[in-house]
């Protein structure tokens, strides 16, 4: 919202106040200021002149040759405006004057000398109108500085609307002036208003308001009729202020309603009395169409609150009036509406129609219904100033259905001091509250605060709200930082979070993995491009065109997107993320959410097998380091996702729980990413693993006696798994086996068709003796026998 300092000065004397500092203080005490514009500084030496004669310029369709009189001299000016006429008084930028920061000089147009120029409203910077030059009233004095006639000089600052969300009282200049009065500790002048009681004897206008059962939608509807409105244009002051505050001047009555809205925050509507004379406020009983005054045909839902003239809808309450009843050129009698509507219903309607008008923006903040009367009284007063001949022909007609309760808040000095953390003088507190028009009653250290109606609709309702008023005007900068002796208690560490960080650090520092952040939804386009098929899942339902609306059920696709992107730049890529996945069963119930490690490694140099081994090492390390547990990998025979390799997909089991999988990426999808690369993905449920208890480390003594090593090289079927050999070793009755480990796996299609050699090193020993040769031989025999009976024979 734009705030004109000139306008503020109508209500607060700002003589001697540094405006820049004032605006800074406003930021520090009231609301964020987004920018300051200083108008009129780029204009000087522009005066009133009179057109003495108008001639056409040869060879030009548009240009006129004017002789203008500045009161001091008569000069030739060439002008392209169509509305120049003899005798008209115009805004004249003489040679040497400055307009929009540009110095005006003598120019030659179509071979004719032009001494300066006549200005349009746009050129003067007071509107967007560039259709012709400004024609001033006949009584304008020749040679007079235009700034004395049109109030161009002003400082306008923009307040961030979001920071006014809870302050319906600040949506007009008078409310802002009240703040500024409190900040500068100056007096707020009372509003100059018409005494409406003078018209009590006049005819009462017909107003009907439908009563709602649950929540009243129209809280108050006030109206008044004015006849004999003959002026069409608002004064320069009004027009310029409206323009500086972001509104377009339309005609006197429309401008007047906007002016009051910008001054008091109360939206008003001016109807042509020929179209509106007998008002009904009620909801639509069926879906309908309605043409708003911007000539748009709007589809309205049943239940939308409307203003009717008798049975004819004439406006969408609180949002926009109808085209049919708007003020037109020959309107002389005005039906003036000043009403208060329920904030929620206005917000709903405006959102639904995507019609966030200035009126709706104010109503949705919950305006004070007391304002409707004040707005009419102010309107009449100002209208009389603009157009002396108007006649009021109705009494102040008012249907006031629902008042907000009067709010009184009791609090004591101690509470204030404790909340702020600083002892403020009582006098200071009382002055601040009174300047903001709160009523204050003092009883010792106890305050009873009466909340003014314009703050009582929702903004101020409890003690904390009063603290804010006192503290912000006092200035947060004036409150010193103070510590407090808070009780400190030990902080329990969350095992899942610990695991998360440990895993991240391990992957990055030991395995050279790069952590990425991906989006939590699938990328439809990439899924198509890479051939990734995903399970249907919970979807986002709003947003402008959102193709990517399905939340991820698995991490792998988003990791593959990252691989796909990076393999374009590098031959190897390793990425991971600990993110959330979601599970939804299309039952309208809450979705389940999991914390999952997703990782992918890709290489154009290495084999799938080696990558898979490396990923296994990652998972093993994470589990071993954090939980001191072993991982079991089981072949998955029936893969559930199409990026998983039908043969090389392995379930990760820890403590008999399935925590995820490692999978070589299906060749079809891998080829879509990069045909030269090997890619392996894995997912691990960090949340479940985090909750698994860590196995205690139990100390195992080292034998004092010498141990003996021997290697066995076994020829086995190519498909034999190492775990199968392990099982045989474990089941053999070796008495002194301490350790065994894999030394080597050798495959050679030529020499060992369908077979492979596996070399295992055994360590045997005893805790009580050194083994004898016989004992050693027996151990060797025992394991050999067990192996050979399982078709695992010693290599020659």
């Amino acid at each position: 919202m734009y705030i004109s300092i000139n306008w503020i000065k109508d209500f607060v004397n700002l003589d001697g106040v540094d405006i820049d500092k004032l605006i800074y203080k406003f930021t520090m005490s009231t609301a964020e200021v987004e920018g300051i514009t200083k108008y009129g500084q780029d204009i000087s030496g522009v005066i009133v002149a009179k057109i003495l004669s108008v001639e056409n310029v040869e060879n030009s369709k548009k240009l006129h040759k004017l002789m203008v009189d500045t009161g001091k001299e008569k000069l030739q000016v060439i002008c392209g405006a169509p509305n120049v006429k003899e005798g008209a008084k115009v805004v004249y930028a003489q040679v040497g004057s400055v307009v929009q920061g540009q110095k005006i000089g003598q120019a030659t147009l179509a071979g004719q000398i032009s001494n300066g120029m006549c200005l349009s409203e746009k050129e003067l910077g007071i509107s967007d109108d560039h259709s012709g030059v400004i024609i001033l009233d006949d009584d304008a004095k020749l040679g007079e500085d235009i700034k004395n006639i049109i109030p161009i000089d002003d400082v306008v600052y923009e307040v961030d609307n979001k920071s006014l969300t809870n302050r319906p009282d600040l949506w007009g200049h008078y409310g802002i002036a009240r703040e500024i009065a409190a900040i500068t500790k100056r007096e707020l002048k009372p509003l100059d208003i018409e005494n409406l009681a003078l018209y009590n004897d006049l005819e009462k206008l017909s107003i009907g308001v439908e009563a709602q059962d649950d929540e009243q939608l129209c809280l108050r509807f006030s109206a008044m009729r004015v006849e004999n409105v003959t002026k069409k244009q608002a004064s320069w002051k009004m027009k310029v202020r409206l323009y500086y505050c972001g509104m377009r001047s339309i005609n006197l009555l429309a401008d007047m309603t906007n002016y009051i809205m910008l001054e008091l925050g109360q939206p008003m509507h001016a109807y042509d009395n020929r179209k509106v004379s007998c008002v009904e406020v009620k909801t639509l009983k069926k879906d309908s169409e309605f043409t708003t005054l911007d000539s748009q045909v709007r589809k309205l839902d049943k239940g939308t609150l409307m203003i009717y003239n008798d049975k004819e809808p004439v406006g969408i309450a609180g949002v926009m009036g109808g085209l049919a009843s708007e003020i037109v050129d020959d309107t002389t009698t005005l039906f003036l509406e000043s009403a208060n509507f329920n904030a929620v219903t206005i917000r709903k309607t405006a959102s639904k129609l995507d019609l966030r008008t200035d009126a709706a923006a104010r109503y949705e903040k919950t305006l004070d219904p007391e304002l409707t009367e004040l707005a009419i009284a102010r309107f009449i007063k100002l209208l009389k100033e603009e157009d002396k001949d108007i006649k009021i022909t109705s009494s102040f007609s008012d249907v006031y259905i629902q008042k907000y309760p009067h709010i009184t808040i009791k609090l004591d000095k101690d509470y204030i001091d404790r909340s702020i953390g600083k002892v403020l003088p009582m006098e200071n507190i009382v002055t601040t509250l009174k300047n903001l028009e709160f009523g204050v009653k003092l009883d010792g250290d106890n305050l009873t605060v009466d909340v003014p109606s314009f703050r009582a609709t929702k903004d101020v309702s409890q003690k904390a709200d009063i603290i804010e008023e006192i503290a912000r005007i006092y200035g947060y900068d004036n409150i010193e930082a103070k510590t407090n002796l808070w009780r400190v208690s030990p902080v329990a560490k969350d095992p899942v979070r610990e695991l998360e960080y440990s895993a991240k650090e391990l992957l990055a520092s030991k395995y050279g993995m790069n952590e990425v952040h991906s989006y939590v939804w699938y990328n439809t386009e990439l899924n198509q491009e890479l051939g990734i098929k995903v399970e249907d899942n919970l979807k986002i339902v709003n947003g402008i065109v959102r193709l990517d609306n399905t939340l991820r059920r698995e991490m792998a696709p988003t990791m593959l997107y990252a691989i796909n992107k990076n393999l374009k730049y590098m031959p190897e890529c390793r990425v991971f993320e600990i993110g959330r996945t979601f599970e939804y069963h299309f039952d309208g119930k809450e979705a389940k959410e999991y914390k999952v490690l997703g990782l992918a490694v890709a290489s154009c140099k290495d084999t799938e097998k080696n990558l898979a081994y490396e990923v296994k090492s990652m998972i093993d390390s994470i589990v071993k380091i954090n939980k001191n547990l072993d991982v079991e990998y089981k072949n998955v025979n029936d893969v559930k996702s199409n990026w998983m390799h039908p043969i090389n997909t392995f379930e990760i089991d820890v403590d008999n729980k399935n925590l995820g999988y490692i999978s070589v990426v299906h060749p079809k999808i891998k080829d879509a990413i990069n045909s030269k690369a090997s890619i392996v993905v894995a997912e691990l449920r960090i949340d479940t693993l985090g909750e698994i208890l860590k196995r205690d480390i139990s100390y195992k003594e080292v034998s004092k006696y010498q141990t003996v090593n021997f290697d066995l090289s076994l020829i086995v079927d190519k498909d034999t798994k190492y775990s199968e050999i392990e099982k045989v070793i474990k089941d053999s009755n070796m008495k002194f086996l301490m350790e065994y480990s894999l030394v080597d796996i050798y495959e050679n299609e030529e020499k060992l068709a369908g077979k492979k050699t596996i070399t295992i090193r055994f360590t045997i020993g005893s805790y009580t003796d050194t083994l004898t040769k016989e004992q050693i031989d027996t151990e060797r025999e025992t394991v050999l026998k067990a192996l050979s009976s399982n078709n695992m024979v010693i290599a020659e």
Partner: protein, 342 residues
């Protein structure tokens, strides 16, 4: 005989000087001190020497034997030394300027900043909590004092989900759950990923990270909040920072503040980071609204507290001088691998 001994001595010394290898030394030893060595022979044949000279000759021969033994040891050590010198001379010269694979990856900048902050908060006695990403409308809005159709919802364009839930727009969505879980007094932070339905550009992302904190106890005042935020931010920026509070509207606090810090990069002189504004708007905060306390099962008459939100994405951008917010979610390893691990 005496002449022979001195001759032998002379021979040995001469030969020793010519020695080139351990084998040469061994040959000398065998020749003189071996079983049939010349010095040994003299000692063996002492009995044949006339008695008057026997003792003297014996002593001299023995002395020579000891001398030769010493010579051999010295020579051996000398040769060993030479051997090492030779080894070192012939050793391969290693070029450490050759790049090697350090196998070090990278952590996401958010992770680094988040962990740094969590450590600071933990040291101040704060519990670190985790929120969901999919939240109920109640937790995200109602429970933090933003009823349906409240204009404050405009501040946050929400991604709504088909089951009526939403992607949380703010970490505040966890406030209610945490208050109900721990009660008062309470000190907790809850970092997390947030979502807004926004078009992307260099300073707008639909997915970003925040960290929210709450501190609830008896007699917590605005002045305490200022102290705390100042201490915290000085810790984050690793230098004394100047802070200022301005009024700001956030429905879950009353009073609500925008906290600005004097730009720590230029000390307020004006720079790129503060866009020459000297102050950086950093952190919305405020005294927790009594309604929010009540909904969280905490009696606002007994307890008060403050809450604050820190933009983790924003802090990460400041820390690493990243000028495009989208870089954080780009998954572009070329960008991300520049981040070290600590």
């Amino acid at each position: 005989m005496e002449e022979k001994i001195s001759l032998l001595r002379k021979q040995v010394i001469e030969k020793m000087e010519k020695v080139k290898s351990a084998t040469d030394v061994e040959n000398i030893r065998v020749e003189y001190l071996g079983k049939k060595g010349e010095v040994i022979e003299i000692l063996k044949n002492l009995k044949n020497v006339e008695a008057s000279k026997r003792k003297e000759i014996g002593e001299k021969a023995n002395k020579l034997r000891v001398e030769i033994e010493e010579l051999i040891e010295t020579k051996k050590a000398e040769l060993k030394e030479k051997e090492y010198e030779e080894k070192i001379k012939n050793a391969e010269k290693i070029d450490l300027s050759v790049p090697v694979d350090d196998k070090v990856g990278s952590l996401h900048p958010i992770t680094i900043v988040q962990r740094e902050l969590e450590d600071i908060f933990s040291s101040m006695g704060f519990t670190v909590e985790d929120g969901n990403e999919v939240e109920t409308e109640y937790n995200n809005f109602e429970a933090v004092n933003v009823p349906k159709y409240h204009p404050a919802r405009d501040m946050q364009d929400t991604f709504w989900l088909e089951n009526g839930e939403l992607l949380k727009t703010q970490t505040s969505a966890a406030q209610n759950k945490i208050m109900l879980k721990y009660g008062a007094p309470l000190k907790a932070i809850f970092p997390g990923r947030c979502f807004r339905n926004e078009a992307l550009d260099a300073s707008h992302e639909n997915t970003f990270f925040q960290m929210e904190g709450m501190m609830i106890d008896k007699d917590v005042s605005i002045s305490n909040l200022i102290y705390f935020m100042k201490t915290l931010l000085s810790e984050i920026f690793k230098k004394e920072v100047e802070v200022r509070l301005r009024p700001g509207f956030f429905p879950f606090v009353e009073p609500g503040f925008e906290l600005d810090i004097k730009c720590p990069y230029c000390d307020g002189a004006g720079c790129k980071v503060c866009k020459n504004g000297s102050w950086i708007e950093l952190c919305p905060c405020g005294m927790i609204h009594p309604n929010v306390l009540k909904m969280g099962g905490i009696d606002p008459e007994k307890y008060s507290g403050f809450a604050f939100g820190l933009g983790l994405s924003r802090l990460a951008m400041m820390k690493y001088n990243i000028n495009d917010l989208r870089a954080l979610n780009s998954c572009d390893v070329r960008i991300l691998k520049q981040m070290n691990i600590k």
